[in-house]
């Protein structure tokens, strides 16, 4: 088990390394750098000005070298620019350090500085992740119980009318991506054209103070899309368990149906959904980005969009590291959890 976790962590690090390198290369393509320079400086810069702007700030040293600096395995640059100012990677936004030839990359805990927000990246990521954490918490609180309840009810009598109607509902929610259900919710519950106005169409105020009025719609929008899939998996697993021999034995002994479902079947039926739920979390990330943009909730997903559309290199790299870690960590947890829940499986 220890070996397994160690190996998975190694793979995780390798994947994160490869992916950040790809992101790094893509954000450092010259057209992207040009956009960055024009965003930072002014939009009427000539090509020569762009070139000197970039070389002053160490962008043209060679991709591998720059990546090494970001990672913290190469010392940060110190460049005396053509405009006479001396700039260093480790001192871009403060006083120049004494020993300028220092390593300051991710390994040293230095995540860089966001060109879009003018703030240290680590600070942005932490605060925004906190906000998205709040959103995700409520999404999971809504999604998991309702998906499990629907799945168990549908699966306990396979082929019954209850099963048919719940399964159709589940298919409907999986067919409705967040940007469709979100738009429909906003149209029905917030617009002046329909006139209900029960909720708010913007969740900006939910960042400080979440209430039912400003937070229900975003949560519901994300939860609905993921719910159908988990419910279907739970249903399949429940239906399989209900055909098992020991359930039939319990029935023949005269155990009541409610007891069969709750005490005998449920525990075994919840093994598969656990894996599905963990693997669903990275997919929720997509929904989070869409919903945060749609409802203007300035969390992690919103930051991702801002970083990407402004080619904010340091921020994008940090965002992709977080994304990759979330994906791989949930995979790891689902594998380990599976072993604990199902003693028949051994990881060698």
């Amino acid at each position: 088990m220890g070996m397994f976790i160690l190996r998975r962590t190694g793979v995780m690090l390798l994947t994160a390394l490869c992916l950040t390198f790809i992101v790094f290369i893509m954000t450092n393509l010259y057209p992207n750098l040009e956009k960055l320079a024009k965003n930072e400086g002014n939009f009427r810069m000539s090509d020569a000005e762009v070139a000197s702007f970039l070389s002053n700030r160490g962008y043209t040293q060679g991709k591998l070298h720059n990546y090494g600096e970001w990672l913290g395995v190469l010392p940060g640059y110190v460049i005396e620019g053509v405009d006479g100012k001396t700039r260093g990677r480790c001192s871009n936004h403060g006083a120049i350090l004494e020993n300028a030839n220092e390593y300051c990359g991710v390994l040293q805990g230095h995540w860089g500085f966001s060109s879009r927000f003018k703030e240290p990246v680590s600070q942005i990521v932490v605060t925004r992740l906190g906000l998205t954490g709040k959103l995700m918490f409520w999404v999971l609180m809504v999604m998991i119980p309702s998906a499990l309840v629907i799945g168990v009810f549908a699966g306990m009598r396979e082929g019954s009318r209850l099963d048919r109607s719940l399964s159709s509902g589940a298919i409907l929610t999986t067919a409705t991506p967040e940007y469709v259900s979100g738009v429909i919710f906003i149209a029905i519950f917030t617009s002046s054209a329909v006139g209900l106005k029960w909720f708010k169409g913007s969740a900006t105020s939910a960042m400080d103070h979440a209430t039912l009025e400003n937070f229900l719609l975003p949560v519901l929008t994300i939860a609905l899309y993921g719910m159908g899939y988990i419910a279907r998996m739970t249903r399949a697993s429940m239906a399989e368990v209900m055909t098992a021999q020991y359930i039939r034995t319990a029935r023949l002994k005269g155990v009541s149906f409610a007891n069969i479902v709750l005490k005998h079947a449920l525990r075994n039926a919840l093994i598969a959904p656990f894996t599905v739920i963990m693997l669903q979390i990275p997919w929720l990330l997509n929904g989070v980005v869409i919903v945060e943009v749609l409802f203007n909730f300035k969390g992690f997903g919103w930051v991702l969009v801002q970083a990407a559309s402004n080619n904010d290199i340091d921020l994008l790299l940090a965002v992709s590291v977080v994304g990759v870690v979330v994906v791989l960590l949930t995979q790891l947890i689902s594998d380990i959890g599976y072993v604990f829940l199902n003693p028949r499986i051994r990881i060698s």
Binding site: L29, A175, T176, I188, L285, I290, V305, N311, L316
Partner: protein, 532 residues
Amino acid sequence: MQNLTWTGTLGAYINPFFLIALSAFCVFAVAAAARGFSRADGPTLLNPTPPSIALMGPTAIIGLVLWLLSLTGLAPFAILALGNMWLSLVACLIIGLAAGFGLFQISAEVIFKLVWSAFYAALGLFTIYLIVGLFVAPETAGILGAISKQLIPTWIALAVTFALSIYFKRGLGLYGKLFDSPIGMIGLALVLFWVFTALFGAGFDLIATHDPLGQVSGMKNKHPGIPLIRAQEGDYPYYLFGGDTLARDVFSRAIVGSGIVIVIAPAATVFAFMVGITLGLPAGYFGGRLDTMLSFLSNMVLAFPVILLFFLLVTPEIIESGLPNYLAVILFVFPVVFIAVAQYSKNRLKPNFLTLQFPIMLIISIWLYLSLVSEAGTKIALLPPLLDLFDVPSEVLVVFVSVVFVNSPTVFRIVRGLTLDVKTRDYVAAAQTRGEGPWYIMLWEILPNVRGPLIVDFCLRIGYATILLGTLGFFGLGLESESPDWGTTINAGRKLLSVYLAPPLVPAFALMSLVLGLNLLADGLREESLRD
């Protein structure tokens, strides 16, 4: 001219009945659900509850009372005013819930019969609008009827397809079996509806009423059914779903937009399958280092948040750098390899094949491949313009490539898993003993035997590709901002959503119905293929 209402003058006669049927459906459905949950039935095997015939009388009366109750809730709102209808629907839900919990005595059979008859009544009344609309002027049958009239080519094609398929269904294999399952049939109908609408609407321009990009001054932000200002002779006199923020016809945009989705989503899925199959089969069959490497690569792509990938890949700067074109060169080579290897491994011993057919086939497919990837003016201009068969605009290419890129690792994983499972079967061993080459075994022994799950996944994946396309449009990536595709239209319309509902809602419901159709179709296919 007056605004067109949703149901026209016909609505005055049918709307009340339609509302009654709809509210009755709501009440009974909630009552049925509430009853289902409120009663913990034992297994029917042990304590069967006989259908209580004695209770039929009271049941009918209670049903009537419920119905009247919902009527009183609805009577003041008989006019089809959306806000009020929602309130009355909520009232129905509450009444039905209370009724369902209170009336334990009604037998479940009766409630379900009531639910279905109310449903069919509502559906039938709705169909009346559509059918009558085919024959009368828009003013009589309203917006619904007018739309139905515009869709005549689609209706005819749908009817012909269904009639022929049902007539010949025994000889049509898995496709024919689909017509035994209601779910599969509904799914197929929805999918075919959009396929035909795209074909006739975007392909032959028979359905759209106006130019999807044409702006008419004075038609900005208008509600559905608005008459066209300064209509000339031969112009369609209405904007059926109103005008959007740039004074374009919402209905025509949704129709023409379906063409983009219906072409790109399935095509991208086909390419993703080609990539996934061509790499997944050898990874599963040979295993070893090849498998480790390919699996690592696919896991890496899968670990990337999809939206981040889109944002990195589909920007004007990246398109300028030519990266999508290079990616296209790599990804689009797989179909050529797939077809070449498949044909070579099967027919290489036939006379004339290697000297005549194979080279011709190879040349044609390579030519098509080169025409697809090369485009004058970009980094990849491999063919002289004279030989270049078709031009794919670079913003469409980049959208296409990124959807293929995101989907192929998942297909790879599925194919690899299926191959691992199947390669230990006897028929594979038999082929090995016969001395067949590995590629013959993979493509002509293993692949046909795993087609069932692959077909089901194919349907689901087209739906997913549609969602991805919409996501790209929603973030304004890729296609031009005036493109009529659904995602872009939703994005453009959501800014004024609180006042003008139609511009974003029409494409939203269109996208939802297409994806729903594909999911139902996959479900039907899965059920029917499991039945064998």
